[in-house]
């Protein structure tokens, strides 16, 4: 599977590996890390127990690369952008998204990380099926 997608919940080892990528960069002063987790929302009076993610893999690759290029153009101090999104089933309380942006200084690291997450929500061809406690499900769309 491509580097932007990972089957199942993201592990502590995967998140640790992301953070270790920058350890030898002497031009980097700040890292901003966003971790997305499945929340046990209440839908139609039923609890979400998990989300099943599906993706159009080849288009994810293209769009993720495009998002990274856009971020690096808009934020000149950004050194690297890492994106890792789950596919398959991720239970409530488990991690489904990691975005890490490294920059020379903290301000752009934080702003660029936030912008990257918004662009992922807008442009990454990923779909989520919320699995409910009674074994029914509902397809969720991003709004706004």
């Amino acid at each position: 599977m491509h580097k932007f997608l990972s089957e199942g919940p993201l592990t502590a080892e995967q998140l640790s590996r992301l953070m270790s990528l920058m350890k030898d960069r002497s031009d980097t002063g700040g890292h901003s890390l966003f971790i997305g987790q499945v929340r046990a929302d209440i839908v139609n009076n039923k609890s979400v127990t998990a989300i099943e993610y599906s993706a159009y893999e080849s288009m994810v690759n293209d769009e993720a690369e495009s998002i990274i290029a856009q971020i690096r153009t808009e934020f000149s101090d950004v050194k690297t952008v890492e994106i890792l999104h789950s596919t398959g089933i991720v239970k409530a309380g488990e991690v489904s998204l990691a975005v890490m942006v490294s920059a020379g200084h903290r301000q752009q690291a934080i702003q660029a990380c936030s912008k990257t997450v918004e662009l992922i929500k807008e442009r990454l061809p990923v779909w989520k099926k919320e699995l409910l406690e009674d074994n029914s499900h509902i397809w969720r769309e991003n709004r706004g």
């Binding site: 159009y56 293209d62 997450v117 061809p125 769309e141």
Partner: protein, 72 residues
């Protein structure tokens, strides 16, 4: 190719067609086969690029029916 809720309503993730010249022709064939699809919002990408109905198709083109995204 069908993704998200469209894969569920059509009961498939992949259909193979030959001799289809334009995207509008393909859309009509799909709608004839799966009329329920008209009730759903979606965009169409050809070879990973969003396009419109007057797009011409060639053998080997990959056409994806994409519901609104829900990543992140």
């Amino acid at each position: 190719m069908f993704f998200g809720v469209l894969a569920e309503v059509t009961g498939t993730t992949f259909l193979n067609y030959t001799g289809v010249k334009t995207l509008s022709d393909l859309r009509q064939r799909i709608t004839d086969r799966h009329p329920e699809i008209v009730h759903y919002n979606y965009r169409i990408a050809v070879n990973n690029l969003f396009t419109d109905d007057d797009c011409t198709l060639s053998d080997g083109d990959e056409v994806a029916f994409l519901p609104p995204f829900a990543g992140g």
